[in-house]
Symmetry: C2
Subunit: 202 residues, 2 copies
């Protein structure tokens, strides 16, 4: 791992939206440094293993990140707070303006300094294989933001829903089987199911 030193192709060095996948914080930092200018949005996924073994490096790269995506136990570990509301406040001070806390079958939370948004997970009849759901979420989330270019909190919420929708497809079959056949209309229909799932009138 320590010797893995990815070199970005020239055409990638002007990326406006950067998703740093779950690798060593040192590698994430080296990738970030190869960009010619600061992207519009830097997203980072990490995990408990790097908090255990490379916390100093992780904290360095977090200072340069806009959106951090982790799960609820990792948010608690990184912040030392059990309450996710308090965890979010602590993590914002580490750098990321936005925090996405992924809770698998229990949905996802999006925090900025002032607001919180909750996206449910879709109750599914069959979950065949959860492998790749987190990365699929990240892809859907980043893809929506890159496509729309809108970094408002309202659009960040939509990005969490699109990420959740993509992840809900991912787990319905093995590998990328379910994702391969998707059309934009199928994705829109699934996003509508998320909207219907939480809709109520008061």
């Amino acid at each position: 791992m320590a010797t893995f030193d990815p070199v970005l192709p020239e055409s990638y060095r002007q990326a406006e939206y950067l998703m740093l996948g779950n690798l060593t914080p040192q590698v994430q930092m080296r990738v970030l440094r190869q960009l010619k200018r600061r992207p519009k949005l830097v997203m980072l996924d990490t995990m408990n293993f790097w908090m255990d073994t490379a916390l100093g490096d992780l904290k360095k790269v977090l200072k340069k990140v806009d959106v951090l995506t982790i799960n609820d136990e990792e948010a608690r570990q990184l912040s030392g707070e059990h309450s996710l509301v308090k965890a979010a406040k602590t993590i914002h001070k580490m750098g990321p303006k936005y925090l996405v806390i992924k809770k698998g079958e229990h949905g996802a939370l999006l925090f900025n300094a002032k607001s919180v948004f909750f996206a449910p997970a879709l109750p599914l009849t069959d979950v065949v294989d959860p492998t790749g759901a987190g990365d699929t979420f990240a892809g859907g989330f980043a893809g929506w933001l890159a496509k729309t270019g809108d970094l408002s909190f309202g659009n960040m919420k939509r990005a969490v829903i699109y990420g959740s929708a993509m992840a809900s497809f991912c787990v319905e079959k093995f590998s990328i089987e379910r994702l391969k056949g998707l059309t934009p209309a199928m994705i829109q229909k699934r996003v509508q199911r998320f909207a219907d799932l939480v809709h109520f009138q008061i």
Copy 2:
């Protein structure tokens, strides 16, 4: 427990909304039989212990119940299904037309034969004591339905939100301390926070 045999006061025997709390299914059945006519809505709360020790009696009383409230692990145990969507289908066949699956800090699901609704839990800064949250949920849920007299699925959704709002207050202080000082305006404000929490536009 086996000798506990509650006798309903005369004034309770015409209740239109009945919530059977989490006691032995035999006691729940004996209470139900003391009503002079079938209530408009019978709700029942139970737990894994009765599934382990009195499943036959539980299944008998479930046949007479409209709304069952249990947690996710109990729904899996009662139905033998891991998927909560499949669990709901199996449990509907046991009697209850409505199933509320409580997931604590992860929210609650409401199923009928055709639809599913998800109510989030409110991310709280401080959770002091979760004791009584389930009963408080049941009280808020049943209270909303009894107050409005509307048994549509749309109003059932509202009932789940009111139950969740009451439970969110319950856990913020010990015992009933937080509940004692509540006003209708405070409850409305909290319900609005649930609406804001899941709101997005597509």
